[in-house]
Amino acid sequence: MASLKFLPFAGTALKNLFSKPVTTSYPFAPAQYPERMRGHIEIDIENCISCGMCARSCPPGALTVDRAAGTWTIQRFDCVQCGNCVNVCPKKCLKMAPGYTTPDTTRRSDTFTRTTPLPKPAPRPAAKPAAPKPAAAPEAKPETKPEANPKA
């Protein structure tokens, strides 16, 4: 057994009496959040293609995506900040940002509406005239544009 001492904690206790508090006086001093903090979700709605992957993979079911209306809705108090939607988003338009959702007396939901309409889906390759042109033609640029769109 280690030898016992009287008041081994007295030094620490005295030091604490004359030192500054380790806590910050929030809300008078702003809270410091690290860069990676998963505080709340933000969406760049103009980039969203309303695929609904985020809503399907949300464990608490806090997200609703309406493709026709172009809206993306989040129930702020249902969200558990797991970040799964951010991981599955194919357009990477979702991100976790620092800062917690502020408390409220009612269940709050935020709806984001896309202002620009979704681009028309790319025409099927069969609809295009099958013209195996030589690759050197610079005029082929407008035709290659729809091909660059993802099919899904």
């Binding site: 057994m1 280690a2 030898s3 016992l4 001492k5 009287f6 008041l7 081994p8 904690f9 030094g11 620490t12 206790a13 604490n16 380790v22 959040y33 690290p34 860069e35 990676r36 903090m37 998963r38 993979s57 464990p59 558990v80 900040q81 797991c82 970040g83 799964n84 991981n87 976790m96």
Partner: protein
């Protein structure tokens, strides 16, 4: 024979924040029997596995407990990875080890604070939790969460740490190790704490083994068993020796946990020194089919994860045996013969997590 009386203890008790109820049978001030009843915080998290995608369930698995959350996510992922024959990249395994050891430090410091609080040593409680805050800040900076980390995924981890972050972790560990010393001294060498802990709730090595004690509780009775020796994550490449004590009393359990904090700092330093470069996760394709069980060493002791999958995205059965479940029978044995005033302290020395136990 003295008159017997029954005193209900919990589930709401000022000293013990865990929702366990005990009917204490007393003879005068001495406990002669304790009858537990649990089930106050059952949430049915195991059942949820049947309705959630197996990849999404990682987020639910880690919400089983607010302290061992990283370990629960890790245990579940490891089990699925074994079923699907997924090899986690070395960097992913090392990152898991670093976060697991940080969880251990965080859990043990929380326990030390609670122990001080149960003894009425409030300033020591504050000091322990002040130190723990540094670990939580490190978690926040590296994973994005203080308590629920959401960094585990099937096939590896979701977030990497750069060299600056790894260096910060080592620096913070070194600083914390220095700051832990006076706190450890207050727990292990103070007359007041010593008089509350010495000789309280002695568990012999034979009893500990027979009753299935796990973790620091088993090691404090002198049995050198640590599931980290099984070599999951990156533990097979690190130097892990079980820390034991011989007395088997509450003081020994406190001593083991304090020494384990130091061991965790050393493991974090080793892991940071050896961490290889490379990918942190591998993509996982297909659905799991089969069954497997994994054991990992949680801060509170050995936990068992069992998964039975059927080839679809939903899993048939997930079973989690938490360390507290194993530690309750030896705790009931220890309670017999102790003073009523020592009951909260004694229950606390097993580091109970009833929410984990009931899932």
């Amino acid at each position: 024979m003295a008159k017997r009386s029954i005193v209900p203890f919990g589930p709401q008790h000022p000293v013990l924040p865990e929702p366990v109820h005990l009917d204490l049978v007393l003879e005068d001030e001495v406990v002669v029997d304790a009858v537990p009843s649990i089930g106050f915080v059952h949430r049915g998290l195991e059942k949820l596995v049947e309705t959630k995608d197996f990849k999404e369930y990682v987020y639910i698995a880690e919400r089983v407990c607010g302290i061992c959350s990283f370990g629960h996510g890790l245990g579940y992922c490891q089990t699925i990875e074994h079923i699907m024959n997924v090899e986690v990249p070395p960097r992913g395994r090392y990152l898991r080890t670093i976060w697991m050891e940080m969880s251990r430090v965080h859990s043990h410091l929380l326990w030390l604070g609670l122990l001080a609080d149960a003894m009425g040593f409030e300033s020591l409680f504050m000091e322990s939790w002040k130190l723990r805050e540094k670990i939580l800040d490190m978690f926040d900076a590296t994973t994005g969460g203080r308590v629920i980390f959401s960094v585990n995924c099937i096939g590896g981890v979701l977030k990497d740490m750069d060299d600056t972050m790894l260096k910060n972790i080592v620096d913070t560990c070194n600083e914390m190790e220095r700051e832990l010393k006076p706190i450890a001294d207050a727990f292990l060498r103070d007359y007041t704490t010593g008089s509350r802990l010495h000789g309280l709730g002695v568990l012999t090595p034979k009893d500990a083994t027979l009753m299935g004690a796990v973790g620091p509780m088993l090691r404090a009775s002198g049995v050198a068993y640590d599931a980290r020796k099984l070599g999951y994550a990156a533990y097979d490449e690190l130097d892990v020796e079980p820390i034991t004590a011989t007395d088997g009393d509450s003081y020994a359990r406190c001593e083991v946990r304090i020494k384990e904090i130091g061991q965790s700092f050393s493991l974090i330093r080793q892991a940071v020194a050896q961490i290889p470069a490379g990918p942190i996760a591998v993509p996982v394709k297909g659905m799991p089919n089969g069954e497997y069980f994994t054991r990992i060493e949680q801060p509170r002791g050995e936990a068992i994860y069992y998964v039975k999958a059927n080839g679809t995205k939903f899993i048939d059965r997930f079973r989690l045996r938490t360390p507290t479940t194993s530690n309750i029978p030896p705790m009931l044995n220890m309670l017999k013969g102790c003073q009523l005033a020592d009951v909260p302290l004694l229950i606390l020395t097993i580091d109970p997590c009833i929410s984990c136990t009931e899932r």
